[in-house]
């Protein structure tokens, strides 16, 4: 889809993905801290989910039912794809996934807030994610139907994709997927309120 790639790059709005969290991944202390925090997060997220929201926990189980697409009990190291989800509050959630995993169902399995209203049938834009620059071009070009649905997503960027269309390959190791963050000060018609 060279045409759509050209359109993308000529797109008027070029909201650069601004990283609110510095890239610590090169620091050895980061991995240590990350693993410890991750375990605690999962425990905390689990309990807060079942109390706080009706079926966030149940949503996770959708991923389990689609185990052929989303399961990631990676036994073989060659199969492992390291993925980082950056949720809407900017929190980094590293996930060990497997080649062939679907990014949407993987997110559900790990309790990440990526809605998939139409269940991966290219009929909505609720699984919109930003893909890390280093990996964006390694993805298969979107089909026309995906581009059509992406057009409906707010805060579309050059590195936007629908999560349900991303299947993990070995080249995507280290991919980072950011959930678009929009505060409630955003208006449907693009109006930006003036500070007062």
């Amino acid at each position: 889809m060279a045409a759509s790639a050209a359109v993308r790059s000529s797109m008027g709005l070029t909201l650069r993905l601004s990283r609110v969290i510095p890239d610590c991944s090169t620091c050895p202390l980061f991995r240590l801290k990350c693993n410890a925090k991750n375990v605690a997060n999962l425990q905390r997220r689990g309990s807060f989910d079942s109390l706080r929201t009706i079926n966030r926990h149940l949503q996770t189980s959708i991923g389990l039912y689609h185990s052929e697409e989303g399961s990631s009990n990676a036994e073989h190291p060659e199969d492992v794809v390291n993925v980082v989800y950056i949720d809407r509050s900017g929190q980094r959630i590293p996930v060990k996934a497997k080649v062939g995993d679907n990014v949407l169902y993987l997110a559900h399995k790990h309790g990440i807030d990526l809605e998939g209203a139409c269940e991966a049938s290219l009929a909505c834009s609720t699984c919109h994610v930003y893909v890390s620059a280093a990996h964006f071009d390694k993805l298969q070009e979107p089909e026309e139907r995906e581009d059509d649905m992406l057009d409906m997503a707010p805060m579309l960027q050059e590195n936007s994709r629908l999560g349900c269309q991303i299947i993990l390959t070995p080249e995507l190791d280290g991919i980072e997927l950011t959930l678009p963050k929009v505060t409630r000060n955003f208006y449907v018609d693009g109006h930006v309120p003036k500070p007062h």
């Binding site: 706080r52 678009p180 929009v182």
Partner: protein
């Protein structure tokens, strides 16, 4: 129906919410024990707005006027868009969760008042959408043969109140006013080959009517120009690719559009490019052949506003529609259509007005902005009405797809949770919740339909559909639905 979604969700991390959670229960109830003061919340309306709001609340009751849930997902989304309806699976999970209770067949405003709900619940969320429609406001609007898209869509989707619509499809030309996704849905249903439609959940009476339909030409009319068109590319592509049809556009309508392309944002640009291609490009041999064999045509007509629906002399049936010719002042989204004084008459036998749904006031005690036809609110908190919230189209107006409503509803749920946390929502007194409402309803002879009752209806519909090769054969009357629910 469409547009931009202010996509959003929670922007607080789990740390913050954990602390808040314990504050909600402790702070709100003073010395009372946790179990005796749980927050009671109810939602009026079980469409996407209702269910997405429910998804983020701890314990919630949903009241629905019809015996069946899901609102416009069931009655608005076109039959040939089944994937859009997948969201019903998410809603079903929410409804079957032990913390959510569904009460169908309860007419809020008639069987029980908002005031009574507010006495029983700490927070009441209004998510009942838009059941009215904007009228064209032109003479002849009430002639036989003129329908609102809301009713037409309700008819082909089996909405009980639209069962008797029986539109006359014995004319050659149909004119649709409006160029949003609903208008394109109507055009597509009018022109789709029956072989495609008969495998969908379109109602049997509609299928029979369409099989006899003489409609061969559909014009989709808009006040402004191609760059202002309100539909989205997916729906346009479906028209372009519709089997046995060919496009019929007016080339002059597209003057200047190609030059304006370069400044358009991506979604608008792709949509406009597809329109230009369809309207102006000389098709290749294969497409040329396909078009020449097509038995039906569809086309956009731009810069036209309805001024009168014309009747056949001496009859009260429609013979045509008089359209005023406009010119555009300004450009882009803000361009205005201005009358030129010229008019044009288009002979036709069917007019569908697709210029917008409209919310209606439910109860005199609820503030209502009749100009915008919404409940006045700030972030989902109804103005000057403590404990009252709104989500979905009632909150923002009747545009947007399911994703839009999802974000809008999560937003409202968040406002409610914030208000519980901060004490803005008064939770000092325990409230009875559904216990008192159920008692009231029983006293008034109203029997709610539970979610398991709905599942019986669901199963009957799916079973009936099976023998016809359809995903379901919808029950078309409330009486039938209740009969199945309670047998």
């Amino acid at each position: 129906v469409l547009i931009y979604t202010p996509a959003l969700l929670f922007c607080c991390n789990s740390n913050e919410l954990d602390v808040n959670l314990s504050r909600v229960f402790a702070g709100g109830c003073g010395k009372a024990s946790l179990s005796s003061c749980s927050p009671k919340v109810c939602i009026v309306g079980s469409g996407p707005a209702g269910f997405y709001t429910a998804q983020h609340l701890i314990k919630v009751d949903i009241y629905e006027r019809l015996p069946v849930p899901f609102g416009l997902v069931r009655f608005g989304v076109a039959p040939d868009h089944p994937e859009v309806k997948n969201v019903i699976n998410t809603f079903t999970q929410t409804a079957k969760h032990s913390r959510c209770s569904f009460y169908g067949n309860v007419n809020v405003g008639k069987n029980v008042s908002i005031t009574e709900l507010q006495q029983a619940y700490h927070a009441v969320v209004l998510s009942y959408g838009a059941e009215g429609n904007r009228s064209m406001g032109v003479p002849g609007e009430d002639l036989a043969g003129v329908y609102s898209a809301k009713d037409f869509v309700g008819w082909y989707n089996g909405l009980p109140s639209c069962r008797e619509l029986s539109p006359d499809l014995s004319c050659e030309t149909a004119v649709i006013l409006g160029q949003g996704n609903v208008a394109l849905d109507v055009a597509r249903i009018l022109l789709s080959p029956i072989d495609i439609l008969k495998k969908t959940d379109i109602t049997q009476p509609t299928l029979e009517a369409l099989a006899e339909s003489q409609v061969r030409r559909v014009l989709i009319v808009g006040r402004r120009g191609p760059i202002q068109i309100a539909c989205t590319i997916k729906e346009l592509r479906e028209m372009v690719n519709l089997p046995d049809t060919r496009p019929d556009m007016v080339a002059a309508d597209f003057d200047g559009v190609k030059e304006a392309l370069k400044d358009l944002p991506r979604p608008r640009k792709r949509l406009t490019e597809l329109m230009l291609k369809t309207a102006l490009e000389v098709p290749g041999e294969k497409e040329q052949e396909r078009r020449s064999k097509a038995s039906r045509t569809w086309g956009f007509r731009f810069f036209r506003s309805p001024v009168e629906v014309l009747a056949e002399p001496g009859h009260s049936r429609i013979a045509g529609i008089r359209l005023a010719i406009n010119k555009l002042e300004g450009s882009g989204d803000g361009a205005q259509a201005v009358l030129t004084g010229e008019v044009e008459d288009v002979p036709c036998g069917l007019v569908v007005s697709s210029i917008g749904y409209k919310s209606l006031p439910i109860d005199p005690s609820v503030p209502f902005d009749s100009r915008k036809a919404i409940v006045p609110n700030t972030m989902g908190r109804v103005k000057q009405a403590a404990g009252l919230y709104c989500s979905g189209w009632l909150k923002t107006g009747p545009t947007g797809v399911i994703a839009t409503t999802m974000n809008n509803s999560f937003d409202t749920a968040r406002s409610i949770l914030e208000d519980m946390d901060s004490g803005t929502l008064d939770m000092s007194a325990a409230k009875p919740g559904s216990q008192s409402i159920s008692a009231l309803l029983e006293k008034r002879g109203v029997k709610p339909v539970t979610f398991s009752d709905w599942e019986k209806i669901d199963n009957v519909e799916m079973k009936r559909g099976e023998s016809r090769g359809k995903p379901r054969e919808k029950l078309l009357t409330v009486e039938e639905m209740l009969h199945v629910a309670w047998t």
